[in-house]
Each structure stands twice: as structure tokens, then as C-alpha cells.
């Protein structure tokens, strides 16, 4: 589903964020990306959504080489790759409902579907009563949950989540993880960057550990950290 071959990513100013990364994530997998702050987790996820392009090497998503994907196809790629952003990226001028609905409107779902599915999904993340709020009228954790809801409202093939529980208390985090697990069980590939010890240790899924842009551990049914 996701395949990186010898990927190097340098940001301008010779900052190496990913250093010769090769890995493969197969369909239906659930992968945790762990590693210290600044080790390249978000960069890896950004390559998958083509928010960034690799400096060298190839990235394949859903069988397509993103390097040769024409510009106009990128939106269609992104509809298949739901993304929970580390900084949420909610539209400030839209309500919670409209933010989540946007993910469906983009793919041309009829209004009736939007009207039915959006409240459902918001109920699932515990925001059933905050449909009409604007993002700046929500707490940090609530914003994060809107971002989660938007990422999988259109049932993408791949779900990419960048610390989706960073602003959530343990109880709510567990709820969100259950949700991700359920989504994963329906066949969606889930790649999640996280710092949450407890979650990784309790789920026992594949763990990819990054350090200074290199994959230093790739363990199925792994735990958060060995040395940490």
C-alpha cells in the first residue's frame, strides 16, 4: 500500500529529515511510527500525502509512484489518504460540521449523505453536541477530534495520523484508538505517528522507530521504546 525506496528528504538549508529510508506497509496494516522529536515522523507522513516531495528515492502509494503523478491527480490521491494533522489544520471560517462535511463535499457526495454521516462520525469522537461551533470555540482536544473525524469521514484507503492523541486525556485517547482499530479492521491501512507509550504498548502492532531520519527499528507487535 505504501512503499518507500531509498528515500532521502532534505529541507532547504541542507536539513536532512529522512535519510535513506526504505520500507513497505501492506494493505490493512496498522503501523506506529515512533521516535524523538524532530526524528522525521511528520516528514514521512507528509511524503505519503505528497505534501512534500522526496529529494531522492521513490514513494509509492496505492501502487502509484508519487514522483510521476501529474499535479492534477494529487487531489484524488489525497481523497484516498485521510490525514490527521499534527496541527489539526481546521478551516477557521467553518463550523465543526462544515469542516467535516468538507471532506465529503470535496468528493461530490450528495447533501443527504453529508447530512447523515457527519453527525454520526462526530458522535463517535464525542463531539455530537458541538456541531455548530467554530474551531476557535473548541478546546485543543476537541479540535484534534474534529481533525480525526474529518480524516476518515470519507472512508479512505489509507489513514495517516500525526499524533492524533497528543492533546487528549488517556480516556479519550483510548476511545480514539478503539475507533482507529475498528477502521483498521474494515481494511483501512493505518499509519500513526505517536509519542504515547501506553497506547503503543497496549496495542502491540508493528512499530517503526525513527532516529535522525533513519529507521532504527522495525518490529511487528512492538512496544514504544527499548532504550527510552
Amino acid at each position: 500500500m505504501i512503499k518507500l525506496i531509498d528515500v532521502v528528504k532534505d529541507y532547504k538549508g541542507d536539513i536532512r529529515a529522512l535519510d535513506n529510508v526504505s520500507l513497505e506497509v501492506t494493505k490493512g496494516e496498522f503501523v506506529f511510527i515512533v521516535g524523538p522529536s524532530g526524528s522525521g515522523k511528520s516528514t514521512f507522513l507528509k511524503l505519503v500525502t505528497k505534501e512534500e516531495d522526496p529529494t531522492s528515492g521513490d514513494v509509492f502509494v496505492a501502487g502509484k509512484n508519487l514522483g510521476s503523478l501529474p499535479r492534477w491527480r494529487v487531489p484524488y490521491l489525497r481523497r484516498n489518504v485521510g490525514c490527521v494533522f499534527q496541527d489539526f489544520k481546521l478551516l477557521p471560517n467553518k463550523t465543526v460540521f462544515e469542516n467535516v462535511a468538507f471532506g465529503l463535499e470535496v468528493i461530490g457526495r450528495p447533501r443527504s449523505v453529508v447530512q447523515r454521516q457527519v453527525p454520526q462520525i462526530l458522535e463517535l469522537v464525542g463531539l455530537g453536541e458541538k456541531l455548530d461551533r467554530f474551531p476557535d470555540e473548541l478546546s485543543g482536544g476537541e479540535q484534534q477530534r474534529v481533525s480525526v473525524a474529518r480524516a476518515f469521514v470519507n472512508r479512505p484507503l489509507i489513514l495517516v495520523a500525526d499524533e492524533p492523541t497528543g492533546n487528549l486525556d488517556p480516556a479519550t485517547s483510548v476511545g480514539i484508538m478503539r475507533l482507529l482499530d475498528r477502521i483498521n479492521k474494515t481494511g483501512t491501512t493505518v499509519v500513526m505517528a505517536t509519542h504515547d507509550h501506553a497506547i503503543v504498548d497496549s496495542m502491540r502492532r508493528r512499530v517503526l522507530q525513527l532516529e535522525h531520519g533513519k529507521v532504527v527499528r522495525d518490529q511487528s507487535r512492538g512496544i514504544y521504546g527499548v532504550g527510552t
Binding site: 487531489p75 489544520k89 470535496v106
Partner: protein, 290 residues
Amino acid sequence: MRLKYFFSETVQNLRRNLLMTIAAVSTVAISLLLLGGVQVLGIMVNRMTTDWEAKVEVNVFLLQDATENETQALQTEVSKMTEVEDVTYVSSREAFLEFSADYPELATGLTDSDLPASLRIKLADANEAEEVADRIEGAPGVDEVRFGGDIIKRLLQVNALLRTVTLAMSVILMIAAAGLIANTIRLAIYARRDEIGIMKLVGATNWFIRIPFMLEGLFAALVGAAVAVVVVLGGNWLLLSRLPEAFPFLAPVLDFSSGELLTVAGLLVGVGGLVGLAGSSLALRRFLEV
């Protein structure tokens, strides 16, 4: 379905970004108002110069001993010229009456026949006065041809100058208005650059993002244009249609036909709408590359 989405999206954004909507509408209104004002001025100048030029005439003074036949032949020949609009015969007597009305003191020493009869020629285009005069010069029965000479040349120059100036002004204002409107739209879109990036990351195509922005730009521009049109027409009605009372000589200059006013209104709406659409589309370009 899609249309409905784009429409409600546009309305919502206009409402939720009220400050930007107001700024955009007022900039468009002010810019187009200036453009409209110059346009009206241009029509007035055109009108005025045309009016002046219509008063240009070529006077053909006839010889005292010109025969009626000669006069007649000359008159028909002249009236056949394409440049000539109208020819009037002014007899010695008529000339004397006019002169004595203008200079009563001097007329006492003169008689009817002291002043020559003449043909007064109105021209289609004042610029051809000299040419027409040259052609008539030396025809049988003709004593002298006068067409105002330097004065006319000067008038024509002034007219040409006035027209050039107003044309230049309206071109400058057209560019200025377009620049100002485009600038404002650019800033309004810049203020929302993050939003555009987010939409792209969520999988929106460029057109899906662009259309509501373009409709917003179009709407703001059209409302601004409408305000400008209302002010121009209202100002015209209030001021210009009342000025002739105080300045009767202005009446012909100010009496705009509704056709002319519609043209100005159309220009404003056209420029506004076009710049609104194109401006937002162009301004979006750089933010769509995510």
C-alpha cells in the same frame, strides 16, 4: 448539487469574512467611481468639442458683380461636396443687418451694398475647412474665401488636445482601477492563504477551491460596480441635470442620452466584474500550489 454548494459556500464566505468583503466592495466602488466620473467627463468634452466644431463655417464672399447664375452654380456645386453639410446664401442686405446689429456706431456710415453677399458653408468635419476653402478659392464669382484660419486651427488643436487628455485620463483610470481592485483582492486572498492550503491537503481540486473565491471576487466587484453606477447616475441626475438651470449654455453638453449613460454603467460593471473574476483567479494561483 455542486452549484448549490458553490453558491452557499460563496455567500457564507462573504458573510464570515465581512471585513474583507467591505474592503473589497468599497475599493471597487471608489475605483470605478473615479473611472465613471472621467468617463462622463469624456462624454462632456466630446460633446463640447463637437459642438464647437459644428460652429466652424467657411465664408465665401462673392464678387459685387457676380451673376445670379454664377452664384447659383457655385451653391449647387458646393453643396455636392461630400465634406459639406449645409450651404446658406447670405445677401448683401442680410450681411448689413447683421453687421449693424453688432456695430451700430459704424453702420451709420454704410449702406446695404457696402457689404458683399456670401455663401455660408457648414462642414461635416471642421478639420476639412482649409481643404474646402482651397477648392472654392478662385471659382467664378468668388472674391475671397475665409474659414477662420489660425483661429480654427487653434480651436481644432485645442479640441484634439482635450480629447487626447480625456482619453488618456480614462485609459489611466482604467488601469488604475484594475490595479487597485486586483491589489485588494490579492490581499484579501492572502489573508486566507492558510485556508486554501488546508483545502488542498484535504483533497480539493483547484477548481473546487477556485470557484467560490472567484464568485466572491465577482460578487464584491459587481456590488462595488453597482454602487459606483448608482453614484455616477445619481450624481449626474442631481448635479448635472440641474446645472443647466444656472448655466443654460451647458445644456447641450450635459444632456446625456440614456444610451450614453448605459454605456458608462456597462463599462463600470464590465471592468469591475472582469477584474474581480480575473483578479481572484490570478491571486489564487500561487497559493494553490500545495
